[in-house]
Subunit: 123 residues, 2 copies
Amino acid sequence: MPQEHGSNQCHAREMLDRVGDKWSVYVIHVLVNAGTVRFNELRSRVDGISQRMLTVTLRGLERDGLVVRTVFPEVPPRVEYALTPLGSTLDQLVCGLVTWSGAHLPEVDAARAAYDVRYGRPT
Amino acid sequence: MPQEHGSNQCHAREMLDRVGDKWSVYVIHVLVNAGTVRFNELRSRVDGISQRMLTVTLRGLERDGLVVRTVFPEVPPRVEYALTPLGSTLDQLVCGLVTWSGAHLPEVDAARAAYDVRYGRPT
């Protein structure tokens, strides 16, 4: 049987860690919709994300070449974030994930409730 | 500014934890391609996943109503896994994620190398 997720795909898996990370998905989703955004704007648009987690998420996305960070030499310095052309190729997938999650939530909630009645709530 | 990822979407975010999890993506991807699969088949097709992690992943997917587990009363018992109709609605998104990750890996690797030269490899 073929190992379609064998060792030659372990890099793709590493990539999935980023693309699949929920905070990355939300940050990319905001950038898809808003274009260029400053750090504090981004933070206010992704409710619940800590300053530290947003910093870590943005650094990872920048390292992956998905987000570009531009520093304007003003006082105080202005720092803006936007998707790179590579990051923009994720727009449909990311919007699809967010839309799917919102649209199918009632079904998932119902399935979870039924499962928990049958097997007990997982710890 | 609207909080498009505000508190009314925190359940969607919980959903993204599952859909975005790399092991869940790979398990769903195998089930999309293979249809009905037994535990050990699944394990051999997702190289690198531990028995424990596969068990936890399948339980989460079953609880979310994305995967159905069928036990056949044989000796030894046969247990098969397949996508539910709800799980099947993820097929394009999941295949899209896997395809994207494979296709854009060289660009991501190049971006990471350039970032690490500039800023040092993140710890």
